[in-house]
């Protein structure tokens, strides 16, 4: 019989800019809160996994050293935007295998400002102007507009919706509403994407204590699936930002592969979901994510957003936290930030952001690597 895994506690350091704090300090705050809720001391877990991309050598070890929480295996996990999801998957496996009863999973990041500079790109690719992350976003956005009848107004509306949700999130970086005109009037970055349609890299930390289910606990939140997938060879617009690919439009994207695996692992269908937190590094990405995750049919994203199906109060809200557009994106922490939000939603603790009666929820991140992570939680 499969071992059931629950979330025993969570912690979140707000996402934003904190010039006076080290990345270690951000991590300490999140880990401390998660251990406190789980009733776990610094030696109360048998393994730790830390998602981070830009934090350097032994970044997770530094956080746990500050808390006397060492001795157990500590593994630092880099999987781009999906680092936290990858770390969560490793934690779930450690419990399911019977090796651990309790595992700490956390993510930390302090991102450089502006367009993300990545060691992924060779210097000549930067020199040739071929290392421009938002330009790749823009090509995917243009393809989505063409294939799914998405208008510029609908792209802008995704940003309006997420910022409206983010007003109610004390952990978000931007807590301000934007009008459709403001988004459509913001400077062009790479057409069709404008400044207010793009998320901002920033800083933050999130932590989750996983535990093998034992005894009774009210409103217990189960981790039903944590799937990670990469790109298939030859996918030209895959998030691995290749220089070429094959003429093949039928190739599933990394997020589709991860979603299929997660739905199967959880025994859940997209129709069963009450809400989702999905990758919205740009507003088109949220719509593409919805198609890739089966939250709407292929080619239907334009209609989905036109009918306001993903609004708060709609049949299945997407990004009630405000998404990365409101929170900003600290790479290593963003996926676990979604998990913390979904845990609060399922437990009915999300306050003004609450999706009433939420029982099944999905978290999704995708980015460089390519790495795509899909996590499914349920009561």
């Amino acid at each position: 019989m499969t071992v059931a895994v629950e979330i025993a506690g969570v912690g979140l350091h707000p996402f934003g800019r904190f010039a006076e704090k080290s990345v270690t300090a951000l991590g300490v705050a999140a880990v401390r809160a998660a251990l406190r809720e789980a009733g776990s001391g610094p030696q109360g877990f048998q393994a730790a996994y830390c998602g981070t991309v830009y934090s350097g050598v032994a970044a997770g070890h530094k956080v746990l050293s500050a808390l006397g929480a060492t001795g157990m295996p500590i593994v630092n996990v880099e999987a781009g935007c999906a680092s936290g999801g990858a770390a969560l998957g490793l934690g779930v496996e450690a419990i399911r295998s019977g090796r651990c009863d309790t595992v700490l999973v956390f993510g930390i990041e302090k991102m450089p400002r502006g367009i993300i500079r990545s060691s992924f790109f060779e210097p000549w690719r930067e020199a040739a102007g071929l290392a421009v992350t938002p330009a790749y976003f823009a090509l995917r956005a243009q393809r989505l507009m063409r294939d799914s009848d998405v208008t510029a107004e609908q792209l802008a509306y995704v940003s309006v919706k997420n910022h409206r949700n983010g007003v109610h999130n004390p952990y978000a970086m931007f807590r301000k509403e934007f009008s459709l005109d403001a988004v459509l009037g913001s400077p062009i970055v790479c057409p069709p994407l404008r400044l207010y349609m793009l998320c901002s890299p920033n800083e933050g930390a999130a932590a989750v204590v996983l535990r093998r289910v034992a005894g009774e606990r009210p409103r217990r939140v189960f981790v039903r699936a944590a799937a990670l997938r990469s790109h298939l060879p030859g996918n030209v617009l895959g998030e691995h930002t290749p220089m070429s690919g094959l003429t093949d439009d039928s190739m599933p994207a990394p997020s589709e592969l991860a979603a299929r695996a997660a739905y199967e692992e959880a025994g859940v269908a997209p129709e069963d979901l009450d809400l989702a937190e999905v990758q919205d590094t740009d507003s088109a990405r949220e719509l593409l994510s919805c198609e890739e995750l089966g939250l709407c049919a292929k080619g239907e994203a334009g209609r989905m957003i036109a009918e306001r199906r993903t609004d708060m109060g709609g049949p299945r809200p997407v990004n009630p936290s405000g998404g990365l557009l409101s929170k900003g994106e600290p790479l290593g922490a963003s996926a676990l930030g979604q998990i913390v939000e979904l845990y609060w939603q399922l437990r009915g603790d999300a306050g003004p952001r609450q999706v009433p009666g939420a029982k099944v929820a999905l978290g999704h991140t995708v980015g460089r690597g390519a790495n795509a992570s899909v996590v499914i939680l349920s009561l």
């Binding site: 020199a127 421009v132 823009a138 090509l139 243009q142 970055v189 690919g245 094959l246």
Partner: protein
């Protein structure tokens, strides 16, 4: 002024400014890739042969880079997009046209070479780009 490629092995370019991209075809699965490598990125075949790629293609997708990205010393704005070649290959490339009004899905495009910047030794650093095929004909 002496010209140097932004990276060796991407393309061949003669003094008249004519040239081609260097792709490779896998001896095992028959599929093409770019830039050329001996190892096939689709099937792990070890016998890929470097060959010239078509200098004409069609435009799949396009955008414009308006802000100078990190590590880039050339001019902005510049075009950026995907070109489909007859080899069954789609190539990520700069586009010489930045005016999106001039571009449309499926339009014929041709390879050209453009100056990026002048390096510390006074040499012109060049790279590949695609432009609308009718523009200079």
């Amino acid at each position: 002024m002496e010209r140097v490629p932004v990276s060796e092995g991407l393309f061949e370019l003669n003094d008249a400014g004519e040239g081609h991209l260097i792709g490779a075809r896998c001896g095992a699965c028959g599929r093409w890739h770019f830039p050329a490598s001996a190892d096939c990125p689709y099937c792990a075949g070890e016998q890929c042969q470097a060959r010239p790629l078509s200098t004409q293609g069609t435009l799949c997708l396009f955008t414009t880079v308006t802000n100078r990205p990190p590590g880039y010393e050339g001019e902005v704005p510049f075009g950026f997009g995907v070109i489909e070649l007859a080899e069954g290959l789609r190539v990520i490339t700069r586009l010489s046209a930045t005016d999106a009004e001039r571009l449309r899905f499926g339009m014929p495009m041709r390879l050209e070479f453009v100056r990026l910047h002048v390096d510390g030794d006074g040499r012109e650093v060049v790279t590949y780009s695609f432009a609308p095929a009718e523009a200079s004909r």
